[in-house]
């Protein structure tokens, strides 16, 4: 089993790893051969060096970004799921709130960043709010869709067992909506760190966004790349946490998927 899983993982990831390695080597060679100036395009080795040399600075700038991202993400998910439950539970809310929700999804949330600064200043709040907004929409919409898509027959079965509305949500509707909710959370997770960075660009004293701005203003392009790598790493970690919690809360789902893949 384990060996089989390992070979499948290898088959899946080796091509991507090889491709990445080829791109990085080509980049290094290109920069050296053409003698590209650092402010224009630094070589990968130089970026790694910058990453290592400014690691203390990077870590201390990463802390506020992590706090903003984590707070915003968690609050966004909680409000998104709660909104989904309320919209599907109360017909009036569906008519009043849901069309607006869909319409608001088309508003570019990032464009709200300057407004948030006007309203809430330069502290932690506007950055967290920006992340909340970005995470909220996909989670709310996927929660509504997931809760609506529940098999009516399962709900009816629970009703014959005398289940209350709350029990129907807890035992049937939410579990059956979970795959969709996690989908929405993954979409939100990919935008979370970027939103915190954009929030920081509007005005902050610390954060990876600040680090990036400073590096770019002083033409230290290798540091800009180092900062981008750090941002990407944070995004991947957040995405990984969501994926892992999905595996832990929905073991049946992955077991079933794995079996399906094996029978194909």
């Amino acid at each position: 089993m384990v060996g089989k899983a390992r070979t499948r993982a290898a088959r899946e990831y080796i091509p991507a790893a090889v491709f990445l390695a080829v791109v990085v080597v080509a980049w290094e060679v290109l920069v050296r051969v053409t003698d590209m100036p650092n402010w224009l395009l630094p070589a990968p080795l130089r970026i790694v060096t910058a990453l290592w040399q400014t690691r203390g600075q990077l870590i201390s700038h990463a802390v506020p970004t992590i706090v903003e991202s984590a707070l915003g993400f968690v609050i966004g998910v909680v409000i998104g799921v709660a909104t989904g439950v309320v919209v599907t539970r109360f017909a009036l809310f569906r008519r009043a709130v849901y069309p607006l929700l869909i319409a608001l999804q088309t508003v570019p949330t990032m464009a709200l960043a300057p407004l948030l600064v006007v309203w809430f200043g330069y502290g932690l709040l506007p950055k967290v709010l920006l992340v909340v907004l970005v995470v909220f929409y996909p989670v709310a919409v996927s929660t509504v869709e997931g809760l609506d898509a529940v098999d009516r027959k399962l709900v009816n079965l629970l009703r014959t067992m005398g289940a209350s509305d709350l029990q129907v949500y807890l035992k049937v509707r939410i579990p059956s909506a979970l795959p969709g909710i996690y989908g929405g959370m993954k979409v939100g997770a990919t935008y979370t760190v970027i939103s915190a960075i954009v929030g920081e660009w509007m005005g902050a004293s610390r954060g990876l966004g600040v680090y990036l701005l400073r590096a770019s203003n002083s033409f230290a392009t290798d540091r800009v790349f180092a900062g981008i790598l750090a941002v990407a790493a944070l995004s991947i970690v957040l995405f990984g946490i969501v994926a892992l919690s999905q595996r832990l809360t929905m073991p049946w789902y992955f077991k079933q998927q794995r079996q399906r893949e094996e029978t194909i």
Partner: protein, 257 residues
């Protein structure tokens, strides 16, 4: 029986389904039936004659166009929670294991679950599900899923049980075992059972009474009392008395379609 109130009474129920564009299908037409407390009654009828519709109405999931459902003489039309219902599809929750699915009703009732869990562990063996307590529904065969669904219904613990073709997906041998088991459990518990099947032999073997329905729109066309002794060995199915009853039901079924 006239002086007693029926445990479950269906009184002149009719139901039509709207098919859109002004079309409708009459699924049930003036169906009446009574079940005494502790009676085992089967309902046989051709496919599409409205048996499942009738069960949905009795369970309170569908409102009839006309007529009432009375439980202990009280009008419960459209009210849920009075009967244990095993639907035709097994409807197991895919995110729950066998054990978790079976424990659904006790869980919804709340309170201490240890007693229910002990009972389930005893029954799981009888249902041929031991070794699969922690399997998810997609890992079970159709027949096993059906047995899980039946066990889940048993754990609902209402004194009226509606079983919609509970043995439809079972092989002949398992099916016989489950019939013997159901009859013996029923002899102990004496709950009121309404049982849908396409298998006339199954209906006669299990029941005190058999209702025969006509093709759509479903009506009750025949009622057949099964005067066999209460405790029924499997060999009873080859007795002349049994064979006569079976052909009586079969004839009613033929003439109703």
């Amino acid at each position: 029986m006239a002086h007693l109130v029926a445990h479950l009474e269906v009184n002149d129920v009719s139901k039509a389904y709207d098919q859109g564009r002004g079309q409708s299908v009459q699924a049930l037409s003036n169906v009446s039936l009574q079940l005494g407390r502790g009676e085992f009654v089967s309902l046989v009828g051709p496919s599409g004659c409205g048996k499942t519709t009738l069960f949905d109405i009795i369970a309170g999931l569908t409102m009839p166009d006309r007529g009432q459902v009375l439980i202990d003489g009280i009008d419960r039309t459209g009210e849920t929670g009075y009967v244990s219902y095993m639907p035709q599809e097994d409807l197991l929750l895919p995110w729950r294991t066998t054990l978790q699915n079976v424990m659904l009703a006790p869980e919804l009732r709340g309170g201490d679950l240890t007693e229910s869990r002990q009972e389930v562990m005893k029954l799981i063996d009888l249902f041929g599900l031991s070794g699969f307590e922690d399997s998810y529904p997609f890992e079970l065969s159709g027949g096993m899923r059906q047995r899980v669904a039946l066990l889940r219904t048993v754990m609902c613990k209402n004194d009226i049980m509606l079983l919609d073709e509970p043995f439809g997906a079972l092989d002949a041998i398992t099916r016989r075992d489950m019939q013997v088991w159901l009859r013996s459990v029923w002899e102990q518990l004496r709950i009121t059972v309404l049982f849908v099947t396409h298998d006339v032999e199954e209906a006669v073997y299990l029941s005190d009474r058999v209702y025969v329905m006509s093709g759509r729109p479903g009506r009750i066309v025949h009622e057949c009392v099964i005067p066999l002794e209460s405790s029924r060995p499997r060999t009873i199915t080859s007795s002349p008395e049994f064979i006569a009853l079976r052909s009586q039901v079969m004839d009613a079924l033929d003439s109703g379609t």
